[in-house]
Amino acid sequence: MSASPVEHREHYLNVSYGVKSWLFTTDHKRIAWLYLLSVTFFFFVGGLFATLLRLELLTPQGDLVQAETYNKLFTMHGVTMIFFFLIPSIPAVLGNFLIPMMIGARDLAFPRLNLASWYIYILGGLFTLTAAAAGGVDTGWTFYTPYSSIYSNTHVALTVVGIFITGFSSILTGLNFIVTIHKMRAPGLTWFRLPLFV
């Protein structure tokens, strides 16, 4: 190990500081961090719902929550984990961070659209959390009709609007990736030489 003094190198973490520099960033690595923090937040929200389910199952009686609340809890657990943790986690976090580096691009093709995707995702998440706070939804995350369309009288519409909004976030991120991978690969990086992740 050499004891040479650490030379100060500028990188995406120390190029600027402050909340604003993060919330208005168009850097793909910083946006990946924004996603990482937000999916972790939703992971814990979903985990909280799951914890309540498991606590209720300690005894056969409905003593912590009644059947109705139990059904809402596992629905909210499923909705949060699927749409706000699982779907954004690998593509939005790892994809944002790794894809430009793996193909030798400076950033994604549309950096500001990338930031917009994150805001759309957060907006959808807020809608769905509002639905949960307003009394929840009890259809299961699959929203099977006709139960969800006719028979359930919980906050189906609000939840689905939230998921729908978040869907646009994934669509825009996907579009961004596709354009980036098609147009911004380093010279000589042909389709068959792409890393498996890409």
């Binding site: 059947a67 109705e68 059904n71 009890d138 259809t139 299961g140 099977y144 006709p146 139960y147 028979y151 359930s152």
Partner: protein, 317 residues
Amino acid sequence: MLENFPLFPEQASTMAPRVDVLFFFLVAVSLFFASLIFFLVILFAVKYRRRSDEEQPRPIKGNLPLEILWSAVPLALTMVMFVWGAVLFFDIYHPPSNALEINVVGKQWMWKIQHPEGQREINELHVPVGRPVKLTMTSEDVIHDFFVPAFRVKKDVLPGGYTSVWFQATKPGEYHLFCSQYCGTQHSGMIGKVVVMELTQYEDWLSGGARGVSLATAGERLFQRLGCSTCHRPDGTGQGPSLVGLFSRPVNLQGGRTVTADEGYIRESILNPQAKIVARYPPVMPTFRGLISEDGILQIIAYLKSLQREERSQAER
């Protein structure tokens, strides 16, 4: 083989051992390859580790025999799984023709059972041992799912149409019946039991208790009461086609199409008569939606089936 594997529900139908053997085969194959891959990952990580800073990995140019091997072996294995699974699926899908037919109507949150002789049950299904039983199932409201673990029988029960499932119980006893498609607040309470009885006890059960008229007779009464018989006269002189001998026969429709008159077709024709118009008849039948229950439709179907039997027995004479 695998008669009483712990953690597994009892095997109480002819299909149960066959489903289990396939399941264990899949588990064994997966377990073998998972262990192999796990072992090789560790082995290669150690064997091909970088031993010095100067060491450069040699480029790999490919290995044709190896590639063929790891394509052919999984292909062969998945084809075995596919054919085996498909054969089993078709056997589960096609009930034997001599099956006892029982109707099941699911609703939030109970199972309503109608036997052909008119017995009705709620959350209980009595069947004889050693005889194939075919269930014709529908729902009054949302999607349910008829699940009897001991029989390895599980089938969605849909509103707006029929699904069917069959089983042949092998051991007398009482078995759990669950709804396994989330259907609302009391979904977890939508449970019942299947009582499998020796044939003699089953006969006793059939003759005892409050038995109403048979399904076919109830259907015939409905057929009169709703005025179906005004147009659908047996001799074919009414405004609508005669329904004698209709069931399971092909029907020529306007526009040259042909459908088989199964349960789903009859149900559709009662609730949505304009959907399929029989050739050479005017589209004048009104809908009976709201005038007839799911139970009632099943009774009419039983009646139409009985018309067929009479005709067949006459033909045999």
